[in-house]
Amino acid sequence: MTNTNLQEQKDLLVVRNLKKYFPVRSGLLQRTSAWVQAVDNVSFTVKRGETLGMVGESGCGKTTIGRTVLRLVEPTSGEVSFEGRDIIKMGQRDLKPLRRDMQIIFQDPYASLNPRMPIGESVMEGLHIHNIGQPKERWEVAIKMLKKVGLEEYHARRYPHEFSGGQRQRIGIARALALNPKFIVCDEPVSALDVSIQSQVLNILKDLQDEFGLTFLFIAHNLSVVEHISDRVAVMYLGKMVELADRDALYREPLHPYTQALLSAIPIPHPNIKRERTILKGDVPSPLNPPKGCRFHTRCPIAIDQCSQVEPEFREARPGHWVACWKVE
């Protein structure tokens, strides 16, 4: 076996120079007047069986990445290969069987289930679309999946409005699992839930990952949640990836000043812990007209002249620890 094949075995998803620009149209003829650079030149890999956490503030492009790697959104340019096959170049016909292997869990459990469909049918809908098994077998799979997420057989005939938020999110997980996928994008799966049930959903995700050997891209804005579930963590700022490292390395020794600020802004519910907090000035600039050079330089506490001129390269500053910053040795 060659080296590249070995690497393909390890890397389930490889993303190279991914770009997604959304057009802004204006005027009578709706001409494109500008581009929102939602995702700009992002590269990363997701290894088989790992959870890659992706954090950033709203509008930093993390959801767009999640949707582009599933081709729910067409990228402007770049390469996304899943198990060694470039899915961006594929036609819809070739893509459809691949969709079984790639699923998504949505953020809002209230909006992502069809209110007029019993949840058992929602869970088996994917099997129907991919023409797997007979209706009776599909129903059995749906019930098996609902049991995996801690629900009972009698729940399958109920409608979404009869469930609490946490239960609905578990139904969303069951639905993503029904097709026995390899890769699941979890787009803020717990941020709409009360804190007292968040960890229940997180535990279910972890258990299922072990049982089915799943790979997760876990998108969230809560750094404490991401720390609990991820093996590696990527930090996004204004459409760029600024840091990517093993979880422990990132939380112990964040290299990028933005990551440092994010971590220091997290409150700790204990009166005896008083910390030095790096509070950034101002707001995130508009992605319509991002700053030149390093996109973070307008708010960076340690920016130098170079930062406003030349964009820093995303490079491996420590083994396995990638960062885009001029000030990191």
């Binding site: 049930i197 804005h221 949640v225 994010l262 519910p269």
Partner: protein, 319 residues
Amino acid sequence: MPTENLLSIKDLVLHFNTQKGPVQAVDGVFFDLGYKEAVVVLGESGCGKSSLAKALLRLLPRNVSKYGGQVYLEGNEIMGMDEEQFRQNIRWVRMSLVPQAAMNSLNPVLKVGDQVAEPMIVHHGVKKEEAYNQAAKMFQHVGVPVDFLDRYAFELSGGMRQRVAIAMALVTAPALVILDEPTSALDVLTQANIFNVLKRLKKELEVSFVLITHDIATSSELADRVAVMYAGQIVEVSDAHRFFSEPLHPYSRMLMASVPRLRANVEPEFITGQPPSLLNPPKGCRFASRCPKRFAKCTEEPPVANVDGIQVKCWLYTS
């Protein structure tokens, strides 16, 4: 009546009529708040904490079926006041509100400066120019550039809009500001900024806060006292220092244990089951069905026990 407390709430009740019957959104809420203090009302979605804010300010919808109890503000009983007295002397004069999703509660067709100045004109009858000066002063306090007075809400970022809403609540120099989930829609860095502003305002303007939130970690930044709400009732009132190191009520303990902490080795826990419906809450302790420590007594309504100054509504602490 006690005058050492700015706010003293006793047995506040607010029930709503619905097609399915009365909803007991606020059912026997009590706590005290001193001058220049902040109390955090913690609770999960649907526990009645936003209804508590509405009950305090008498911003009531039409379907109220029961509204009662005693609220003392600066020593005066305000529940007995008639609507006109309340409007002239209390609401937005001594007590104001930063509403939930404040960033969307600004009028899109008015300049934000006009909106912040308006309470001064309505309640203190000052000239427009003077009200504008006061609004400009408030903008400085909350950290919004003064030239933003002439802007519209859509021209401001989420964090700036939130600050404008806070300025609007503070412009008449009230003694008490109720903040209903002031930062829940904001990013973590913006949240930290807003909380720094609130901490500074508490010192500079000598104002008290009732902070209503579900975000335990963020609330610990500002809290002097903590009141935990569950299914329409207060289950624990404690001082913040003692609450965040050792809560007493089983619900408070489990809630604290479910907060994911940074760089911690302990896995967060979760509470099984879900809160009872406020349409027809169970008799006795409302948390009993989810409580790991329940015993025979819990089918009866628990009294409020006093444990070294901490009030706990739980049978475990009655001697």
